[in-house]
């Protein structure tokens, strides 16, 4: 603590140290910091004591134990013989999966609706408005329940599955697709695809340079389509069509074979996408409106068609306004994905909760949850900040 007797030397008016705002400020901060350290020390000590009393061993050793429970939906190999650590990992991947596809879908829907809100067509405009108002004002949990119990209860049982095109089926157990079974030489198709993408990249660069230098345009889009679509197709034909399908078929209980997308995932994914899209739409609308009107007039004066002016002039500028709030919507979606427990989608919170319940390792499991969600959020924010920096006005 500062001593009130000492005084500040120099030209400054002589104030007793005690009344010097800077010194006082520092003193308060030191006090608060010391208090915080004491509190943390007390909490840790108390926790350990209480845990010992409650006979709960601490530490992360339990992650090596046999989980003993099954998980319905897993992206990696998992069975009841796997460890708790593996179960948490499966949950984490499930969280990541729904977050990533949710973010992509929400962004696409959000952009479409957001632009639609600006449409001069009265009907489109109104439909988009209704969409935004409806989804923005319903709690996400209700949207999830709507998709799950509402839609689930009208879907038929496996025996009366709804036939969809291309050997797909829809029933109360989910959506079933045929599975691709690649035969010998199929890797060449993949090579073709990679080559197509690489070539496209170079063609685009070359076309851009040439246009800059000579003003001549090159049909980049169609060349890309030909490269990315054509090369794999060529490889596919040359290797003699190495592809067969495994179609879902009815067995005693469910459809077997093919790929099954479970209704829990579908419901959560659709709900999160539709819900977040409403917010993204508003952000997009605000972003586009935020670009001054002069810009589109200038683009028109340059002879750009309206699609071109949107793509080349308006959107790049609007993105600067859109990206920061968009980031927080992405974070929201990721965090809202933990509502999965409500409908039995095995995300990190669900598998972690079961682990917690069986092992009693509350502190450890909660710590894992916190770290993972924090990591996901910081990661998303970091990525978006990087993108934002790239999009930012380059000052010349």
């Amino acid at each position: 603590m500062a001593t009130p007797q000492s005084t500040v030397e120099g030209a400054a008016p002589r104030v007793p140290l005690f009344y010097d705002p800077r010194v006082r400020g520092i003193a308060y901060q030191v006090l608060v910091f010391a208090g915080l350290v004491a509190l943390i020390y007390w909490i840790i000590g108390n926790t350990t004591a209480n845990l010992q009393r409650a006979n709960i061993a601490s530490g992360f050793d339990f992650l090596q134990g046999r989980a003993g429970f099954d998980i319905g939906d897993s992206l990696v190999e998992y069975s009841s013989d796997s460890t708790y650590g593996r179960a948490l990992f499966v949950g984490f991947l499930n969280t990541l999966r729904v977050a990533i596809v949710g973010i992509i879908t929400a962004t696409i829907i959000g952009f479409i609706i957001g632009i639609g809100r600006l449409s001069k067509n009265w009907l489109i405009n109104r439909i988009c408005l209704v969409y935004v108002e409806v989804f923005r004002n319903i709690p996400p949990l209700l949207v999830i329940f709507f998709w799950y119990f509402g839609v689930l209860s009208v879907l038929p049982l496996p025996r009366e599955s709804i036939d969809l095109p291309l050997g797909s089926y829809l029933n109360s157990r989910g959506l079933y697709f045929p599975r691709f079974l690649w035969g010998e030489g199929a890797w060449l198709v993949l090579v073709g695809l990679v080559l197509g993408i690489v070539f496209t990249f170079f063609v685009r660069r070359w076309a851009h340079r040439r246009q800059m230098a000579t003003g001549e345009q090159f049909p980049v889009f169609w060349t890309s389509v030909a490269l990315i679509g054509g090369l794999p197709l060529l490889a596919f034909l040359l290797t003699g069509l190495p592809l067969s399908f495994e179609f879902p078929e009815l067995s005693t209980f469910n459809l077997r074979g093919g790929i099954q997308v479970r209704p829990e995932f579908l419901a959560l994914y659709l709900a999160l996408s539709f819900y977040t899209a409403a917010f993204i739409a508003e952000i997009v609308r605000a972003g586009v409106l935020g670009v001054s009107h002069g810009q589109s007039e200038a683009a028109q004066a340059l002879g750009l068609r309206s699609g071109q002016s949107m793509r080349l002039v308006i959107i790049p500028q609007a993105l600067r306004i859109i990206i920061p709030p968009l980031t927080s919507q992405y974070l929201n979606l990721t965090k809202n994905s933990s509502l999965a427990v409500a409908i039995g989608y095995p995300d990190l919170v669900a598998t972690g909760g079961t682990t917690l319940n069986q092992t009693g390792q509350a502190i450890e499991v909660v710590a894992i949850w916190l770290v993972v969600y924090l990591g996901l959020s910081l990661g998303t924010a970091g990525l978006m900040n990087w993108y934002n920096a790239r999009m930012a006005l380059v000052e010349r």
């Binding site: 006979n55 049982l157 109360s172 157990r173 067995s251 469910n254 829990e264 909760g353 009693g360 509350a362």
Partner: protein, 342 residues
């Protein structure tokens, strides 16, 4: 999110508890004026609120018996409905004093989770239920390979299920929910072919389905599920109280003491009856427990003996109509056995 918050609060509770809540539960309970009892969120026969919002059931009545033994008042109890997943955290963190919620006694719950089971109020076993209308020709659990199975998270059920299908080389697709109503709704909506839980639970669940008569319980029992009340480690006195209230109720049935004839039995000169009812000269059995010598009288007066509790809630006088089976007294071929009161 809510779950994270709950678990956070749970661990915060463990972090913050100034003094261990477990030190002298009886004193805490007396100071509060009621027993805080963790029950099921709504399992008919075990613990479910009726139309007037009064909690009813075997697990509920057990808590009322404990409250009656302490306060001579079966209403001196408050109920905390707990999901399968939340129940242990609630007991560990001191949110409830007793967990009386169709909870299976297992070694890891005794050790790793730090619980003490006071006895077995209902011997159960896990079974399977299917919709016989939709799945004709299925009459054994061994025909269930490939089925989608609805189950509640955080239960022994979930684990036995995995073991059973693995042991019999069968596949299944687990559909796991955290909340009881969600499992029920999903099964009713046809999300899964099979519902699995303790057999008593299956009968209770069936009552609330859209068409109860369409559903059958398959004959296989795949596990042992001894259900009983639990307290936390570290308070032997409280453990003894809960344990001996249970044994007193069983002993009462063995000795033929019921709510109806209690008055008359108070004058009995059968020494066993006198010890149980605390009418023996200079007895200290009740006071040594930390209660009064007539603690058993109080419990029996308000809720009846074990047999009466059983029949009223899950047996002949209830919609469940479950027979005593292995829950009969040991003298009648069952497993209920009251440790000697002496």
């Amino acid at each position: 999110m809510k779950n994270i918050v709950k678990a956070l609060l749970g661990s915060a509770a463990i972090a913050m508890m100034a003094a261990p809540a477990s030190a002298a539960t009886l004193d805490d309970v007396k100071a509060k004026g009621h027993v805080q009892c963790g029950v099921n969120t709504g399992l008919i026969g075990f613990s479910a609120p009726d139309d007037q919002g009064n909690w009813k059931g075997l697990d509920v009545d057990f808590c009322r018996a404990v409250a009656a033994a302490i306060f001579d008042d079966p209403e001196a109890v408050e109920f905390t409905p707990l999901s399968a997943k939340d129940r242990f955290t609630a007991l560990q963190s001191g949110e409830v004093d007793v967990l009386s919620r169709n909870t299976t006694w297992t070694i890891s719950r005794d050790t790793a989770l730090g619980l003490n089971f006071a006895g077995v109020t209902y011997y159960d076993g896990q079974g399977f239920m299917i919709n016989a209308k939709k799945l004709e020709g299925i009459n054994s659990a061994l025909q269930l390979s490939g089925a989608a199975v609805c189950v509640q998270a955080g239960t022994t059920t979930e684990l036995n299920l995995a073991d059973y299908f693995k042991a019999n080389n069968m596949e299944y697709s687990p559909v796991v929910f955290e909340k009881f109503e969600e499992v029920n709704a999903a099964y009713d909506a046809g999300r899964c072919d099979v519902y699995t839980t303790d057999q008593s639970g299956l009968y209770a669940v069936r009552l609330n389905l859209t068409n109860p008569d369409d559903h059958i319980v398959l004959p296989e029992i795949i596990s042992k599920e001894p259900l009983g009340p639990a307290v936390r480690h570290g308070d032997d006195q409280w453990f003894d109280i809960v344990k001996w209230v249970y044994y007193a109720l069983v002993n009462a049935e063995e000795l033929g003491i019921s709510q109806a004839n209690l008055e008359e039995k108070m004058n009995s000169d059968n020494p066993e009856v006198r010890r149980l009812l605390g009418t023996e000269e200079g007895t200290k059995l009740g006071t040594d427990l930390g209660l009064t010598n007539d603690f058993a009288v109080r419990a029996i007066k308000h809720v009846g003996n074990y047999g009466e509790i059983f029949e009223r809630n899950v047996g002949a006088d209830s919609p469940l109509k479950i027979s005593r089976g292995i829950n009969a007294l040991w003298t009648k071929g069952g497993l209920q056995y009251g440790m000697p009161i002496r």
